[in-house]
């Protein structure tokens, strides 16, 4: 799995996410050398970035037969044409995903600035989108990281862990994710 920094995301945020994901998943997580340019995905009308175009740009960076999952980590506000906003997006049963810190940052919601809150929220969103690339759908178990989160408070309520059926369906190790609880 490879994390691809995009736009104005601080490198430290990506590095922390890499460490946390590697620990959770018990596998090597790389950080791409290049920074993904988001200009093409920018909508001047909405002053937001199209998530589907970012996913397409990520896939362009893959050679044929490359099975690596690529996840863009951006600080910009994401949207899909029919939605006002989204936190993150992924290619279902695919190789590309994107997570944004924009709406997860506590100060965006007038919450006290706490880097640990953003770090945990970002990890949960990244695990959630990874789950979608592995073909997992939203889970009804409230604490499972695959339960849908439509606002940051929902994200806070989840654990950075997959429930047993989701973990089994996605072939994801479970035990290590509890290190964060």
């Amino acid at each position: 799995m490879e994390l691809v920094p995009g736009g104005a995301v601080p490198p430290a945020v990506v590095r922390e996410l890499r460490r946390d994901l590697a620990l959770c998943l018990d596998r090597r997580v790389a950080i791409a050398d290049e920074v993904l340019a988001l200009d093409d995905a920018f909508s001047p009308e909405r002053q937001q970035y199209r998530a589907d175009m970012i996913l397409a740009a990520l896939l362009e960076g893959l050679d044929g037969g490359d099975e690596r999952r690529r996840m863009a980590v951006v600080a910009e506000d994401l949207f899909l044409p029919v939605f006002t906003h989204i936190f993150s997006s992924a290619q279902f049963r695919g190789l590309a995903a994107v997570v944004s810190t924009h709406r997860l940052t506590p100060t965006w919601l007038d919450q006290p600035a706490d880097p640990r809150v953003l770090r945990l929220r970002l990890l949960k969103e990244a695990l959630h989108e990874l789950g979608h690339t592995l073909g997992l759908v939203h889970c009804k178990v409230p604490w499972c990281v695959m339960s849908p989160s439509l606002d940051p408070d929902h994200v806070d309520l989840k654990d950075p862990a997959f429930c047993a059926p989701c973990a089994e369906a996605g072939g994801i190790p479970r035990d290590r994710t509890f290190l964060f609880l």
Partner: protein, 450 residues
């Protein structure tokens, strides 16, 4: 419907909208399909079922409103959410008026859209489950035997006619004819079948107990009311309230019942809060309510409220062809319950059953068959096993199943009048009452000189 993924159809002429929505709802666990036009959507619907449709309104060719119209024509339970990029109150009102489940403006808040689609799916699921339940209930055999005579066929026709409506029904018939069972059948075949059916025997309770039973009471409303109690009317919310022996309801409770029927609210005994209630009323009586109105013991306004539709169940003796099939039904039912392999009735037993008047109607017949099974040791129920054997011919048909003192008095007065050639003075003297009293009683019982 449970156990499979909810199916969602997305209709929009813009590809990226279809893809975004499809992607979103796939992650949400929906089985999504997309169509680029109304025509394509209809083709797709001809091939597969979907639970919820999210359709754009403005599309070239068939627009979302026309698609909705065509879909609802075929499937009135379909949940359609119409979307548009342009907020217009007029279009929204039109869409909802024409049956859309909801209306949304692009771009959507993802949380709002997910919730609307989830609620629409719940609604469809509930409608489908209710439909299945209704089909199951209407296909089910009635839980009792009614008979196949023309008289009972007419009763069943009336039941089928009135059941789907919300009309109040008054069931009349002698004791033991199965009035409560007909009431339950009306409930089972009504739109309220999935709601409760709550039965109250008004004749079995004193005025204050009946009042509390029907309307409930607040804690401390009267001595012994140690806690709050919900009344049967409240419990029947969304279902059917069956009041048996409604003719026995006292004037005070009649007034309260009338108020509940007219205002659709009740107040618990000792309370002051008006509680809205939603129930269908089915009542039953073996009393002559018209006579009760004349003598002032039953309110005519309540009578008109409960007697919107009447079903009269004929007594068994008036539908003799039903007697044997019903007896055989009970023999099979009780035989199976007792684990007794009974072949049937002997020829003598059948004659006896057919000859008897059955003043207690189906209830008496059921009891007689059950008792016969207990005493019968062989494989065939004989005449000697039937509890009617000793008095089969002693039954007085003149009583017509009415064992009240009043019925006996009426019969006796008529007999004495006949003996005295309807000379009221002589008959009154023989009866030991004055002429005026005799005239009053003749009027009360409808006895006329020939």
């Amino acid at each position: 419907m449970s156990g499979r993924m909810p199916r969602l159809l997305i209709v929009d002429d813009e590809r990226h909208v279809r893809e975004s929505l499809s992607h979103w709802f796939t992650e949400d666990g929906y089985d999504t399909v997309t169509a680029g036009s109304g025509r394509e959507a209809l083709d797709l619907l001809g091939r597969r079922d979907v639970d919820v449709i999210v359709s754009d309104i403005k599309m070239p060719g068939m627009d979302g409103l026309e698609l909705q119209h065509r879909v609802l024509e075929k499937n009135p339970h379909a949940a359609i959410i119409l979307v548009t990029a342009y907020a217009s109150v007029a279009t929204a009102v039109q869409a909802l008026k024409e049956g859309a489940y909801d209306y949304m403006v692009k771009p959507f808040d993802p949380e709002q859209l997910s919730q609307v689609v989830a609620r629409a799916y719940e609604k469809v699921k509930l409608s489908t489950e209710n439909e299945t339940l209704r089909e199951r209930l209407s296909a089910a055999e009635p839980p009792f035997v009614t008979g196949t005579s023309r008289a009972m066929a007419k009763v069943m026709e009336l039941v089928d006619m009135v059941a789907p409506t919300d009309t109040s029904v008054l069931i009349r018939g002698e004791s033991g004819t199965g009035k409560e069972l007909i009431a339950r059948l009306i409930h089972l075949r009504s739109q309220r079948a999935y709601g409760p059916v709550v039965a109250v025997n008004c004749g079995a309770l004193s005025e204050s107990l009946l009042e509390s039973e029907l309307f409930g009471h607040e804690k401390g409303a009267f001595t012994g009311a140690s806690s709050r109690r919900t009344g049967k009317i409240e419990l029947a919310d969304g279902g059917t309230l069956f009041l048996d022996e409604v003719g026995e309801v006292t004037p005070k409770v009649q007034v309260e019942l009338l108020r509940a029927l007219e205002e659709r609210t009740i107040t618990r005994v000792g309370g002051n809060q008006e509680i809205p209630v939603n129930f269908r009323l089915v009542t039953a009586t073996n009393r002559d309510l018209e006579a009760a109105i004349r003598d002032g013991s039953f309110r005519d306004d309540l009578f008109f409220r409960i007697n919107v539709f009447t079903i009269t169940i004929p007594p068994l003796r008036e539908r003799r062809e039903d007697i044997l099939p019903i007896a055989e039904h009970f023999l099979r039912r009780f035989g199976a319950a007792m684990g007794r392999p009974i072949r049937g009735f002997s020829a003598e037993a059948r004659d006896l059953i057919l000859d008897y008047e059955w003043p207690g109607n189906v209830r008496e017949l059921a009891n007689a068959v059950e008792r016969a099974l207990v005493v019968c040791r062989g494989e065939e129920v004989g005449a000697e096993h039937l509890p009617i054997a000793a008095h089969a011919h002693a039954a007085d048909p003149g009583l017509a199943g009415d064992y009240s003192i009043a019925a006996l008095e009426a019969q006796h007065i008529e007999k004495v009048l006949r003996v005295h050639d309807y000379n009221v003075t002589q008959a009154a003297k023989a009866l030991g009452i004055d002429r005026v009293t005799l005239y009053n009683k003749m009027r009360k019982y409808g006895i006329e000189r020939p």
